[in-house]
Symmetry: C2
Subunit: 288 residues, 2 copies
């Protein structure tokens, strides 16, 4: 990461004449429309994109997919891969595990307990039917000295947290994701569970002034966020660089989530195959 | 950056009872409202945040601020710091500088020429008045072997680009920003210009399958983007990690832009002070 500032001061006479525009090169947007594929999007117009055509995501369409989190940011991230009809059922699990565990263990256990609590509540839901997939996540911010940072409790504490993040080099953000799917076999009820923890290092810009931190705190954007800033909003002006996944800092590492969904759905179906005694045939087939 | 996948398969009897929720700790959101400060936002509700209260941004309010780019992503990024009434005037500058220059020089020259073209067009705009600030930017994606990647011109080429990005380790994204402000002195017309180039390294997930790349290409999200992917959307599922600024990859490094705006506005005013013969007095004053 590298930023270079250059300074100029010029007079009117320095302005160069803009070159005459030439014929623009043929663009991908401008290729003739193929009736079999969707129309190319128009530049500048709002563009409804075709959804991501993946077998697992197609399988989930029209089935109950639950996000065990009230975070609008997580819901928004899931929507980018076409999971737009996700039910929001915040977990009743109280985030009170002992912080004496390592941050890694703490965040993983919390996400897993959140998923389990919603699974337990919804698995026998007679009116809606059992869920096809439950996604739970927990995000923690860990200071350079290894402490888990809470949400700020006052404006004064909020400024203290941000000053400390600015002055102590890098800190780390961990998001744990837990995906659960009920086994498809009716004979042997149970579930498949897949989890992952993703780590991103974040470095604040050490030249951020106290005045800018105060102005940021006054916007209240970071007031309800662990670590006291939202990297996807104004908080971006405090951050010099990250090393890792961006949406992990926002609260849901999408690439990892997609992998977990694919694994957990596959395993919930494998169990079904096992029940039906078809496992040997399946193993002989090679995946394309 | 570190991701760990954990596998479980459990039965109904494994589900642990969720602990009884205890009294939640007092939250920053729950502090009594102070009549002098804005009301704390409600959880879950859409939250209009107070704007970032910085002298330079306040000074721009109600004055002509021009973004010399048609990119809705850049407009969105500027809006996060309260620059919501930005005029969009895409530059007529044709991006045809020789690519034999270094990527750094190429992107810097392109952003600068874009700003100059809009400045020249708008500085004598009699109906709207002269602009207070012009922001121009150019973003390029550079392959591991140093080639500047264009927008894909066909679906086939699009897949080739993404496969190459996946298989060649890291690539780099450079955004150059040029900010211009007319000198305030009426006696000596001219402008202040501040520029910067920001670099972010991006690493695709090498385990992404050809099928996922094809599914991504079919969504057309990346069809109009240099490098063929949008990191802020579905393209996120292709990216394992970045090293640097995220919004730089999206097309506008906000932290750098804010610094440039502050510098260029200050310098456009300094020139005014110089003209008025007040420079010595100003220099004696210490900045708070």
């Amino acid at each position: 990461m590298n930023s270079t500032d250059l300074q100029h001061q010029c007079r009117m006479s320095d302005i160069k004449k803009a070159p005459v525009p030439s014929e623009p090169p043929p663009s991908y947007d401008a290729t003739p429309p193929n009736p079999a594929s969707p129309a190319p999007p128009k530049k500048g117009a709002p563009r409804p994109l075709p959804p991501l055509d993946l077998p697992t995501l197609n399988l989930l369409r029209g089935r109950r997919t639950i996000l065990a989190s009230a975070s609008p940011r997580r819901k928004h991230i899931l929507a980018t891969i076409g999971l737009t009809n996700v039910e929001i059922i915040p977990s009743s699990f109280e985030e009170n595990l002992p912080k004496s565990a390592s941050p890694f263990e703490y965040v993983l256990a919390t996400a897993t307990e959140k998923a389990l609590a919603v699974y337990k509540q919804e698995i026998n839901n007679e009116s809606k039917g059992e869920p096809a997939l439950i996604i739970a996540a927990d995000t923690i911010v860990v200071s350079n000295s290894g402490d888990i940072l809470e949400k700020p409790r006052s404006e004064g504490q909020h400024i203290m947290i941000l000053k400390s993040l600015r002055d102590t080099g890098i800190h780390r953000v961990y998001t744990a994701v837990a995906c659960m799917a009920p086994l498809e076999s009716a004979r042997d009820p149970g579930y498949a569970l897949e989890t992952a923890v993703e780590e991103t290092a974040v470095k604040f810009d050490p030249s951020v002034t106290d005045e800018l931190l105060l102005a940021y705190v006054k916007t209240r954007e970071g007031a309800d966020k662990a670590g006291g800033y939202g990297i996807q909003g104004m908080g971006s002006i405090l951050v010099e660089k990250i090393d890792g996944s961006f949406d992990n800092v926002v609260g849901l590492p999408l690439r990892v989530v997609l992998k977990l969904i694919e694994k957990v759905i596959e395993r919930s179906q494998d169990a079904d195959v096992l029940e039906s005694g078809l496992i040997e045939e399946e193993e002989d087939e090679e995946e394309e």
